[in-house]
Amino acid sequence: MATLTSTEPVPGLGAHRQRPPRRLGFSQKLSRWDVKVSPYLYISPFFILFGITGLFPLVYTAVVSVHEWNLLGGQGEFVGLQNFDDVLAQAVFWKSLVNTFSIFLLSSLPQLVVAITIAALLDQNIRNATFWRMGVLIPYVVAPIAVSLIFGRLFADQYGVINAMLELIGLEPVRWHSDRLASHFAISTMVNFRWTGYNALIFLAAMQAVPRDLYEAATIDGAGRARQFFSVTIPQIRATIIFVVITASIGGLQIFDEVRLYDQTGLGGADRQWMTTVLYMYDVAWGGQRDFGRAAAVAWMLFLLIVLIGLINFLVARRIASSGPRAPRVKRSVTKRLLQEAKAAGAGRPGPRAPTSGHGPKHSSTTTDRRNS
């Protein structure tokens, strides 16, 4: 392998250097230019368009947030952090944050458990595998806004199917719209409806990548199926679980469609009991207040919050990833000694950290370790 990957020019080619430099024709110049410029040309549409429509608006949100700025009147004077003060003083803002987190927690945790369970069921040698896989994906093609409308009806306080079923088994009907926690539950059910099957397929793919000899070894060691699931499958798909949790939290904290048509007015209920933060931002900008400055302040704060939670996720994930599933506990002094020995053996070459779990996902490793010229 080492001989194949060498990028040094073959020694024989060095002979060319002794010759006097040959003058380049126009087409050769063009070709050289082609080689140099093309790579940048091909990536430029992404960077230009993303810069204008992705990055610039995000950064400019900060500028809008420190100005008086209305939907109709346009830019006003510089007001410093006044907009932030105003927003932080509004009880609805805080309420919307609590609602968002509550809905997010109610949707993410159960969804994770159910999706992994479905994936484990699909990971067996079932008949008509494609049929079942397509079946769990059907909700994905229903627009969230339609889901909002449909579930608003399913969870109707009167003549809703859910309440009818509760009454059928002798339970009290739940006020799915007026009760705060109940409404959060209903809204997270919409999120779960659309994304559980999708995530189950992601987990299924990860499970199928688990080397089968691990299961054989576990069977020989006498582990039952449940034990195999918790001691082999779950640790092996850990990276995928982290990936799903991070994407779910970025999306979950920006929830909007699902709440928008949950009732007639779509502003989070009479007491704003299920108003989410993005819905609040929408209402401030295009609803009652028509205040872009304050809405930008909301957006900016939510952005920082999402970044913060992303970082926490990342740190927790790294912690989990770097401590092996069943790694024996070793004293720190022992580790230190081993590290020193290893360093001495490796002659100070830094090198990448050896992965502690044998089978991480294939992604990310291929992109970073390539060398340019």
């Binding site: 140099k36 549409p45 949100t61 079932i126 003549y159 992601i202 007639q264 993005v278």
Partner: protein, 309 residues
């Protein structure tokens, strides 16, 4: 002369790549196909329940659309089987000037098709460049692309609205199309795919034969990228077709897409759930039909995306 330098530099890599590919293929065929036992009925029962729960909301929409307003206001499930009376709701929704169904269908189609094609083209171009060409700053730029996948750009809607209003695009579909033309995920996805699927030897051969960079892309990279490009196009299509937040802000109810038409239904028919649900089913139907044909590919796409990132 310079192309020779590129080839000399990459020849080793290419050979290494193909060697790695061969080894991986050997591993795969060796590892699979050991478990053959069929699971018991419990598995099918649970999966069946999941399937029922996945389909029931849509079936219920069909039921409400098939019954009339009076019976809906008297019982949670007015009837157990849908009937053809839903076609009357369809025709009423199609004829309504408040809903603008046909305009919404046309807008959604134009937006989803244009954006899918553009995302596929730009992502493949950038993916080809990142995966197979050498240039300064490639590593950091690719890291930047990956990092932007985690950025909640949805939160930039306010400056975006100001921008669109300055351009005079508020209420026009350009305002929805232009910001969606590129996708960080698309670039990442195509880069990953082309690294594996496009052998260096092929690129080198084209260059030796005198093909320009763009010719190499068009005749070598693009055909090789076809499977991944199809998946990317499919997912972009579904995503655009179901997108609501930004279109609702910038287009408004007068020039709707199909998701905005759903909102118009709610506003237009108040509590007539027979018509509302009939309309919702009508709006959902196109994507369900498409799903019947390409559902298999969507499943495969999600499962490949999981392994590759």
């Amino acid at each position: 002369m310079s192309s020779v330098a590129v080839i000399a530099q990459t020849a080793g890599k290419g050979a290494a790549k193909s060697a790695a590919r061969r080894r991986r293929a050997a591993n795969d065929s060796h590892g699979a196909g050991s478990a053959v036992r069929r699971p018991g009925w419990v598995t099918y029962a649970v999966l069946g329940l999941v399937l029922v729960l996945s389909v029931f909301p849509l079936y219920y929409t069909l039921l409400l659309g098939s019954s009339d307003q009076v019976s809906i206001s008297q019982s949670a499930i007015p009837q157990w089987l849908p009937d053809l009376s839903i076609l009357e709701r369809f025709s009423e929704v199609m004829a309504s000037t408040q809903i603008n169904f046909w305009l919404a269908l046309a807008n959604s189609t134009i937006i989803a098709v244009t954006v899918s094609l553009a995302v596929v083209l730009f992502s493949t171009l950038a993916g080809f460049s990142f995966a197979k060409l050498n240039f300064k700053g490639r590593g950091p730029l690719l890291v930047f692309v990956i990092a932007t996948m985690a950025v909640p750009t949805q939160l930039g809607v306010i400056p975006m609205y100001i921008l669109m209003s300055d351009l005079g695009w508020v209420g026009k579909i350009e305002a929805v199309i232009v910001p969606s033309l590129v996708s960080a995920f698309g670039v990442f996805w195509m880069t990953q795919y082309l690294e594996e699927a496009l052998p260096y030897e092929l690129v080198e051969a084209a260059r030796v034969d005198g093909a320009s960079m763009f010719r190499t892309f068009w005749s070598i990279a693009l055909p090789a990228a076809r499977p991944a490009a199809a998946m990317l196009g499919l997912f972009t299509f579904v995503q655009q077709w179901t997108n609501f937040f930004w279109p609702a802000i910038v287009l408004g109810s007068q020039n709707p897409t199909l998701p905005i038409a759903v909102q118009n239904l709610r506003a237009g028919y108040h509590d007539d759930f027979s018509l509302i649900m009939g309309g919702v089913f009508l709006v959902t139907l196109p994507l369900l039909v498409i799903f019947a044909f390409v559902g298999r590919q969507l499943v495969a796409g999600i499962m490949q995306g999981a392994v590759k990132g």
